[in-house]
Symmetry: C2
Subunit: 147 residues, 2 copies
DNA sequence: CTTGAAGCTCCAGTGGCTTCAGGTTCCATG
DNA sequence: CATGGAACCTGAAGCCACTGGAGCTTCAAG
């Protein structure tokens, strides 16, 4: 039950380093309302705490995984309003769960193919006989909007 | 051993529909060299075959999964040049495999959390008691560039 | 031979940053 | 306590990966 000591009073640059984000990107996220405006010092400089760090880390991971800003806004809404009317929250979570499942499936297929290529490569001493990356991710069965 | 009958002579609109892509996006991909310029009709209209269909479907899936155009260019290079010097191909494949593994890990974490939320939601009759989507994807251990 | 859908090129606009310019604040060192 | 360089500030322009619109041509069903 050791209470993790809180991280506080991070300058924008510290936050940037810890989340592998550009300083300007942080200011941009504030501008578009993804990050709440933090408190400022006397000299008007932004000061962040742990919650900003977590929130920003989440945003970066989600962006990196291909979620749009709007999708992220929705996911954050789940966090920000735990007492959201149930249908909304349920709908948002369910919709994103489907999308996540879908992405995992496609990434698995790509992973399998990349592994196969590396393995064959070793076996055949330096040549990729037949690369099927395209086949594997062009599979129509995996298309969201196909039928 | 039934030979799949080849799809040929698709107009740009057909290709767009089959890959859930905008017509303009297809032309844009041609412009930046992701798709080879197809043959044209007498009247100067683009005509595509099966390989374009596969290639474009691949590109779309990869973009959707958050790969950059440059990463996709590299993956396509594996397909386009099966006789690539081994170190190049191996490096490309290995690098992207690592990235793919990483993405799968993070998506799994997010999936787990979304599932948990939906389950608790059902149990508690309409309220999301504590939403941890942020915690789950802000985990520092999952950061590519953290240490 | 008409007519309307779909194609063509060129160019401007958008989302999500990124870079630049021209300043102000902070703080380690002399 | 003065100072100089790193880090901060705002505001605006630029860039990538599309997206949409204008104005025109081609195609194919009737």
């Amino acid at each position: 039950m050791t209470k993790t000591l809180e991280i506080r009073d991070l300058a924008i640059g510290d936050l940037a380093r810890r989340t592998d984000t550009k300083v300007q990107t942080i200011r941009y996220y504030e501008e578009i309302g993804l990050l709440p405006p933090p408190t400022r010092t006397e000299g008007n400089q932004r000061v962040y705490g742990e919650s900003s760090l977590r929130r920003l880390a989440f945003i970066r991971h989600a962006r990196d995984l291909g979620f749009s800003i709007d999708a992220i806004r929705e996911l954050l809404k789940l966090s920000d309003h735990p007492d959201l009317p149930c249908d909304d929250a349920d709908g948002i979570a369910r919709r994103h769960l489907d999308e996540v499942e879908d992405r995992i499936t496609r990434l698995r297929a790509l992973r399998k193919e990349l592994k196969r290529m590396l393995a064959e490569h070793r076996d055949h001493g330096g040549r990729i006989a037949d690369c099927k990356v395209i086949e594997v991710l062009s599979d129509h069965g995996l298309c969201k909007h196909a039928h």
